[in-house]
Symmetry: C2
Subunit: 384 residues, 2 copies
């Protein structure tokens, strides 16, 4: 989507040199920086340390990491080593392994000399497929929003709540949860998005940044606020993304998603999950029980990154803002150093709380039968 006047994807290659670049998302929304990735270590760092985040973008980045490694070493052993190195960078993201497997399975049967080009072409295809999938998700979600807008008829915008950043920054373009919002705004529908801050990493700031860049009205709120807003009629629907969806429709997504699903259910508000089919893990039949939850470094909870103050801080609580320039970023620590911290990064929302799954093939109930019915091809091939 747009950044200033330029249309960006979140990962792209130079069509002459095949050099691969990403947006280093650690600095957003404070600074917009792009960086070129080359070595496998570069790609591993970018995934593990969340320069890129979001299941589809992690998949595309992993695919490019494989492609760049195969440029240098097309041997079976080299491919396997890269697979191993990249696979362990993020334990929860199903797309990571999916992309790595797909690259390896595509390239390994080929003669050594053909592997580098084939790997690049598949990495390009994986990225392009993601864009097309997200566009389809957006078109399907748009119809849900259109139906709610038609029913409202109170002259107020359709209020959509979202959690985390399932935006274009988390995919190659369009985003998953945001794609219906972008499509609705582009179609001239009156929409407004409640953006959950999404502690501990505040990815809501990314969502706010990208919605703002595209001109979609939105309001940034703390994660605690959504239940109250739902109680008081301020939310018409919830759309979130997912890092991994179990075959039974249980949805693993950023920590806190489950709480919003409970509140939506309690207030009879539709709760939708936007997901590309590669996010479905057909091998897991009970997501709440069987999806392992990544416990991340406690410093993510202790510390927060933000911009230092400017004129606006003159009357604030600042004791010592240092001598840094306006807009520079720094980290602060909030809890006492002596306190233990816990940092489970995801939770699983049971299918019973999910109104529907917005996929590239349509909107379906969150159930084993519905998912298998919509994706008979994938369901068979993946569970075999």
């Amino acid at each position: 989507m747009k950044v200033g006047e330029t249309h960006y994807r979140s990962i792209w290659h130079d069509s002459d040199t095949w050099a691969v670049s990403i947006i280093d998302q650690r600095w957003l929304p404070h600074r917009f920086e792009t960086v070129q990735l080359d070595s496998t270590a570069d790609f591993a760092t970018a995934i593990r340390d969340m320069w890129v985040r979001g299941a589809p973008l992690i998949g595309a980045t992993a695919a490019w990491g494989m492609a760049k490694a195969i440029e240098r070493d097309s041997s079976d052993a080299g491919i396997d080593a890269t697979w191993e190195l990249l696979e362990c960078t993020r334990p929860t993201a199903i797309n990571l392994r999916w992309a790595l497997d797909r690259m390896r399975e595509h390239v390994r049967p080929l003669p050594i000399a053909e592997r580098a080009l084939a790997a690049r072409e598949l990495a390009v295809a994986i990225a392009d497929e993601d864009v097309e999938i997200n566009r389809q998700i957006g078109l399907n979600g748009l119809e849900l929003i259109r139906a709610i807008a038609a029913k409202k008829g109170d002259g107020k915008p359709v209020n959509i709540l979202t959690h985390c950043n399932a935006g274009w920054l988390a995919t190659v373009d369009w985003g998953t949860a945001t794609s219906p919002m972008y499509h609705a705004a582009d179609a001239g529908l009156d929409v407004h998005v409640w953006v959950d801050e999404t502690r501990p990493r505040n990815q809501g700031a990314l969502t706010a940044w990208e919605l703002g860049s595209h001109g979609v009205p939105h309001t940034y709120i703390v994660d605690n606020a959504g239940g109250h807003l739902m109680q008081h009629g301020e939310v018409d629907l919830v759309i979130v993304g997912t890092d991994r969806t179990a075959a039974n429709g249980d949805v693993c997504n950023k920590i806190g998603t489950y709480l919003k699903a409970l509140a939506a259910f309690d207030n009879d508000i539709p709760f939708y999950v936007a997901l590309p089919s590669p996010t479905i893990d057909w091998t897991v039949s009970d997501g709440v029980r069987d999806i392992p939850i990544e416990e991340r470094n406690g410093d993510e909870v202790r510390r927060q990154l933000g911009r230092l103050g400017s004129e606006r801080n003159k009357n604030s609580l600042i004791v010592d803002s240092g001598n840094s320039a306006d807009g520079a970023t720094t980290e602060i620590a909030v809890p006492p150093d002596a306190s233990a911290v816990g940092n489970p990064a995801f939770d699983v929302t049971p299918a019973r709380l999910v109104t529907g799954l917005i996929t590239e093939r349509g909107v379906v109930e969150a159930s084993t039968a519905s998912l298998a019915g919509l994706f008979p091809d994938l369901q068979v091939s993946r569970s075999a």
Copy 2:
């Protein structure tokens, strides 16, 4: 409770000079500072700008604000003016008005010459009553914890989740939600507390600080984490405080409490609310519908206060930490400046989600009949 080797209350007076002091809680847990309050403007600022917070402490501070004003001007007009000035500082806290009314009603019938001393004595009594009420809440809550500990028998601690700071810093001493925890720890029970960060103001850092100071094991978590922990058996009970309880048992408390109540209900985990009887608003029969929710300044959401980095930050994301000394505090801004922010400060948890109310007179069901039965004296006098 203890700060270092000294036992503090959160508000106290000098028995010779009647000078009133508080802990300026804006700087906790980073710095421990006390400040003397004198003028009515001092007290109004301390309440409005949250140098003191928590319903009971706000009540005690308001009472002392009245007493100090009456020292200077004991006239009916002076008393009324102080009442007006202090009453509008925080719209949600029922204790504020309760304390102001009680001071005025006590003093107004007296001869002018007797008012100053009577006002001081009543302010002392209000503070002492709060301490005794919280002690009783703690003893009643202790029995709940003891029963759960006896049933567990798995050698693991009783895991208690709490939201916000309903600790001794929010009362005069003991706290409300924390009083059972302090009593349980003092009684030698093996307890562990999950402390919700409680965005936007991060009062969980205060709870972590006071639990740590008293030696109670605890873990600081983001507000998003509690649902996941409950799903996986890591929480045995929830105890929160309340700023205002409706006569039907609906509980108005810090924003986000409702989400934790939903999660506790969904996982069959007891959800208790600790409340002193002055927190009950007998005039409100439907809390969800009728309690007005304070919308606070959006800068509370935009900005966060914390300690600047030290050695620990050497390998972190710091771009410019300024030249400030270790432990100095500053504010950062997280979301884009261009984004709108919303900041509802409280939400209301419906009585149907509350397992019980822990009061100074015992633990009862959250219902009109139970509350009226336990407090027939208050119920009659306040609703008359």
